[in-house]
């Protein structure tokens, strides 16, 4: 019989552990371990049968070696042998080894399961518990298959010991989490729920974890637990601190059980039964009251336990989101914690308030703490607390405090920890966009962002500012001016150069009037940054240069010189070299007209979710896969995606640059009409499904079509067009893309393109709710004589639109002859049983079929005189309803589809345009003159065309635009 010391009986193990600890180096340790492994191996293989004690000792040593981080590939069989020992200590070590070193050898598992089965049926509670612990620790599918049927029986059997019940409940929980399909509660459900009434608090504590998990998956089957949980909670909350004996923890009665009960209730809506609900509200009030009582102990354990319950109660109050009184009390309580000396409490209060901020009842109450939170952002010493403060500021931000919060976040960014900068940048960018009242503030904010934290400004952020500037003509001039100023800084971030290059390339003309930012000055400024930039940025700048040649013919020679220089045309980077060669060639051989077409201003980007929001979601949470996809598409689109094609040389250059995002070339006019791809459609789907309707407000061009309640018409006939449909139509006279209509249920986005007398329109119907639309049906009709003027073809859409989903519809339009009315779009669907019936005017207007015509002054006047018959002219004098900013006017006239002719009118204040309307029957030449009178804030608009109806219609349409 081996000698046993007075220790634990495994002196050999203790000596081995000391040896390992005394090893001076990693090598010595490994050497000692290998020696021991060899020794154990030989013992296990030896002829002499080992007694239980030795087996236990060696298995324990193996376990220790494994826990040190070394691999162990033997000893399992010896451990399984220990399982069948009837000595508790040996069995216990055997189970421990199996639990820690699970092995998938099926023969072994069979043996293990056999031993477990024996112990489970042994009726010896300690053995049963050991077996249950092992199942719970391993939790494998094989074990679930073997025991999932047996354990519920043990759990509810009347003669099972309490300690075994506790183990059985949690064992079942583990199996359910791993293999829910194998754990069938069915007949046991009600008896398991009634464990909540068990006299033994330990049984309740263990069982409630199981019940909570099962309830969250099958709420209906377990809903009887609500009233039981409330009465149990009520008994605990009202008990004195000594009533529960050993379940009172530092003067707090049953804190763990209380938290778990409150957690279980969060699987359900507020109780319907008035009495139960009353009792629960009473409990919640008591918990809130107790928070105000003086502490019964100074120990941190006391306050932690008490506050754990309080926070769980607040979570429940937020979950119900229906008791304004409790919500506001919760908010006040958290407000107190915001200034507590315990860092943990400040952290949790900030975290919890974040969810309170999203409740309509407490949003305002949360906002009152803004100064404290800003102070926390500035003074907290722990970055994780500052992070919570930033999250809360983000959550409490709305239109009223956006400027203050964005400013605070920006100033915090200057000193923020590196670990959270990127997220902060995304948040600032999102808030700035979401709550931008004037877009110049938005542009300022983003440019500041790049200045302060340029390294952390991801592509999404600067893509987005460009999307917005391109889509909002009222901010383009300002953006050009601001970015020009920002570039003056001696050291500016490369991201600033990218934004600068892109914006000046598109809109540099808007500031070229000022001699301080003349075309050449702009170019020199950009080019001074060129050599400091990376290849993708240089590529972008080259594209900006070719755009300059188009915008400012006077820069052509200088830029060609740059392109021709060896450092460009012989650049070792193939992309740069190719761009230089192609742009040089393009600028020398193409006529001004071709150049103007190829290098036309980028068309507006389709409406979609902010890529930044997607990025933040990706950073923040699961569901990242779909977001990632979205991201990829977005990037593609940003480069001009759907609208490109045409010119072979440029197409080739595009092909070789998958993403450096440098493409300024939007070849809309040369793109084949069949160039579909509005992947924007699928992008929007994610907006709705992930973030709910609020995310859509991040869309840029919501031109203030405020949601109006959907007209609920009982009849199946198409409803008459909405009163605002004419106004909606007017919004699209000078643009082709945007949100046509939006209410609480539905959003309709439009993307359209026209060529000659043909047009194609994509309608995107987004279901903003979480409920599906059924019998979804849309029709487009041409009332009256429009039938013979327009040929409209639609494809039918699927009758089912899932909650949060979006469907797309393509409409082909052919203009047969000129027309006045607009086609009607009728949408019918059932939402929650009620028929929705909405009619709108489709924004198809005669000007969409304009083809711009460039002509010299002499030509213009000659044609003008030719169209001198009174009926050929239409004229309107009207008051300006928007600002009379030159650039905005120009943008609108270009949006109309005509060519804007320079140097025609002797008065430089006036605008002159020309275009030909393409219809199948005929072409109608059209000349336009707009005379603004800034003093009187009036315009005179004159239209002349070969057809009186056209003159009148274009004049009417255009007069609404200024």
């Amino acid at each position: 019989m081996p000698a046993v010391s007075k220790g634990d009986g495994m002196r050999g193990l203790a000596v081995f552990i000391s040896d390992i600890r005394n090893c001076k180096s990693k090598e010595a340790e490994i050497k000692r371990i290998n020696k021991e492994l060899a020794n154990i191996r030989s013992k296990f293989k030896g002829d002499k049968a080992l007694d239980g004690y030795s087996k236990k000792k060696y298995v324990c040593k193996l376990l220790f070696i494994f826990l040190l981080g070394h691999d162990i590939d033997f000893g399992h069989m010896e451990a399984v042998n220990l399982l069948s020992s009837n000595k508790y200590t040996e069995k216990q070590i055997g189970y421990l080894f199996i639990s820690v070193l699970v092995n998938s050898n099926s023969e072994l598992i069979r043996l293990i399961n056999n031993a477990i089965k024996n112990d489970l049926s042994s009726r010896n509670p300690t053995f049963m518990c050991l077996a249950l612990h092992c199942i719970a620790n391993v939790g494998s599918r094989e074990m679930a298959e073997a025991f999932a049927g047996e354990i519920p029986r043990i759990l509810v059997a009347g003669d099972t010991m309490d300690s075994v019940k506790q183990s059985a409940a949690l064992c079942l929980l583990r199996l359910y989490k791993a293999s829910p399909d194998l754990v069938l509660m069915g007949e046991w459900t009600s008896r398991v729920v009634h464990l909540l009434n068990d006299q033994h608090m330990g049984v309740v504590t263990a069982a409630i974890s199981l019940i909570t998990c099962l309830s969250s998956k099958n709420p209906d089957e377990f809903k009887t637990c609500v009233s039981l949980a409330v009465s149990r909670l009520s008994r605990i909350v009202s008990s004195a601190s000594t009533d529960l004996q050993d379940y009172t923890y530092y003067f707090v009665p049953a804190p763990w059980l209380s938290c778990k009960l409150l957690r279980l209730l969060q699987c359900y809506p507020p109780p319907e039964d008035g009495a139960v609900k009353g009792r629960l509200v009473e409990c919640l009030e008591t918990i809130l009251n107790k928070a105000q009582e003086p502490p019964k102990s100074k120990k941190v354990q006391h306050s932690n336990a008490k506050n754990a319950i309080l926070f769980e109660a607040i979570s429940l109050i937020i979950h119900y989101d229906s008791e304004p009184n409790l919500l506001v009390r919760a908010c006040n309580q958290l407000g107190q914690f915001l200034q507590h000396r315990e860092t943990n409490l400040r952290y949790l209060a900030l975290e919890s308030m974040c969810t309170l901020a999203s409740s309509e009842f407490s949003h305002e109450a949360v906002k009152t703490h803004i100064e404290t939170v800003i102070n926390a952002l500035k003074t907290e010493r722990d970055v994780s607390v500052r992070q919570r403060a930033a999250d809360l500021l983000y959550a409490m931000c709305d239109r009223s405090n956006a400027k203050q919060i964005v400013a605070e976040m920006l100033s915090y960014l200057e000193t923020a920890d590196y670990s959270i900068r990127e997220e902060m940048v995304l948040k600032v960018a999102i808030l700035a966009e979401k709550y931008a009242v004037d877009y110049s503030w938005y542009v300022d904010t983003i440019l500041n962002l790049i200045r302060i934290a340029g390294d952390y400004v991801s592509e999404e952020v600067w893509y987005r500012v460009i999307q917005i500037v391109i889509n909002r003509d009222d901010v383009q001039g300002y953006a050009a001016k601001t970015v020009f100023e920002a570039l003056q800084a001696p050291a500016c971030h490369e991201n600033m150069v990218k934004v600068g290059g892109y914006i000046l390339g598109e809109f540099g003309n808007l500031i070229a009037g000022d001699p301080r930012s003349s075309p050449l000055v702009q170019f020199n400024l950009l080019h001074s940054k060129f050599h400091l930039c990376s290849v993708p940025t240089r590529a972008l700048l080259l594209s900006a240069y070719i755009k300059f040649i188009n915008l400012f013919p006077e820069t052509k020679a200088t830029i060609q010189e740059v392109l021709r220089s060896d450092s460009q045309i012989r650049n070792s980077d193939v992309e740069l070299q190719q761009r230089a060669v192609e742009y040089l060639k393009l600028s020398s051989i193409a006529s001004t007209d071709v150049l103007a077409t190829v290098l036309e201003e980028m068309p507006p980007f389709p409406e979609r979710e902010s890529s930044i929001l997607a990025k933040l979601k990706k950073k923040k949470g699961p569901g990242a896969v779909s977001v990632e996809l979205e991201d990829g598409k977005e990037r593609g689109e940003l480069n001009g995606g759907g609208d490109r094609g045409g010119d072979a040389a440029i197409a080739a250059s595009n092909a070789s640059t998958p993403s450096p995002s440098a493409d300024l070339l939007g070849l809309r006019s040369t793109a084949p009409v069949s160039g579909t791809t509005p992947s924007a459609g699928s992008l929007l789907v994610d907006v709705f499904s992930e973030a709910g309707p609020s995310a859509t407000s991040a869309g840029v061009n919501d031109d203030g079509f405020l949601s109006s309640a959907p007209p609920t018409v009982a009849s199946e006939d198409p409803a008459p067009p909405l009163p605002e449909s004419d106004e909606l139509l007017n919004k699209f006279v000078c643009k082709n893309n945007g949100v046509l209509f939006e209410n609480q249920l539905l959003q309709i986005g439009i993307k359209s393109e026209y060529r000659q007398n043909l047009g194609r329109m994509y309608l995107f119907y987004g279901n903003k709710t979480s409920v599906q639309f059924v019998s979804f049906n849309t029709t487009v009709s041409c009332p009256g004589e429009l039938q013979s003027q327009l040929n409209v073809q639609t494809k039918t859409v699927e009758p089912l639109v899932e909650g949060g989903a979006q469907v797309q519809q393509v409409i082909n339009i052919e203009c047969l002859t000129d027309f006045i009315d607009a086609p009607l779009l009728n949408i019918k669907f059932r939402y929650g049983g009620a028929l929705q019936n909405i009619s709108l005017k489709l924004p198809v207007t005669i000007n969409k079929f304009f083809q711009p015509t460039e002509m010299a002054a002499a030509d213009f006047f000659q044609r003008w005189k030719q169209l001198s018959q009174p009926q050929q002219e239409a004229q309107k004098i009207f008051k300006a309803s928007h600002g009379m900013d030159t650039e905005v006017l120009k943008a609108k006239l270009l949006g109309l589809g005509t060519a804007l002719l320079e140097n025609v009118d002797p008065n430089p204040e006036n605008y002159v345009c020309a275009g030909v309307i393409q219809t199948k029957a005929q072409q109608v030449g059209c000349l336009l003159r707009l005379e603004p009178n800034a003093q009187a804030q009036m315009y005179r608009l004159t239209l002349r065309s070969s057809k009186d109806t056209v003159s009148q219609r274009v004049c009417d349409l255009l007069a609404e635009q200024f």
Partner: protein, 186 residues
């Protein structure tokens, strides 16, 4: 709870308990990452941090860090007290527990943990009940086979420790002092 780790100030892992299935490789990676993150934090910082999509709750007792990873909807404060209750149980069982007790009696530390937490949830929160379960097991253990066997006592380990030239273990009361006292044992 998804897992619990005990590690020393030197970053040595003393106990690991995983309540979700993970590969050994993944476990090692998580351990390395978390030990580094937690050790880098300063004493007065808060006990919670966001880590991957989990919340980590940790507390230092003398030279040992107790660190739990919980899911998003779980309660941080009550988890802190889970840690404390476990420390109390260890202390009661070993009599003024110290890091050495856990090193030399690692299997006991696992047994006590299994009686307290199972599948990551509290099995029983009564100190008396948990200890009763352990004591019962110890009674079974002392069924004479190799002579009389007793659980290792604090004094026994002090003796063993001094044999091997290690410092005096730190008593429980010292554990409960603020960590800034920085008691080092190894």
């Amino acid at each position: 709870m998804q897992f619990m780790l005990l590690f020393s100030r030197q970053g040595k892992l003393r106990l690991q308990k995983w309540y979700v299935p993970l590969s050994d490789k993944e476990k090692k990676k998580i351990t390395r990452e978390l030990v580094q993150t937690v050790l880098a934090r300063k004493p007065k910082m808060c006990s919670f941090l966001e880590w991957r999509d989990l919340k980590v709750v940790y507390k230092r007792y003398a030279s040992l860090y107790f660190c739990c990873a919980i899911e998003n909807q779980d309660n941080e404060l009550i988890t802190l007290e889970i840690i404390h209750r476990y420390v109390e149980l260890l202390d009661k069982y070993f009599g003024s527990v110290c890091e050495l007790d856990i090193i030399f009696n690692f299997e006991k530390a696992y047994f006590i943990l299994d009686e307290f937490l199972l599948g990551g949830e509290a099995q029983d929160t009564s100190k008396k009940n948990v200890l009763k379960a352990i004591e019962q097991a110890d009674l079974l253990r002392s069924v004479p086979l190799h002579g009389v066997i007793q659980p290792v006592s604090y004094s026994a380990w002090c003796e063993l420790a001094s044999q091997h030239g290690v410092n005096q273990p730190v008593s429980y009361s010292a554990w409960c002092e603020p960590a800034s006292q920085s008691v080092s044992m190894v």
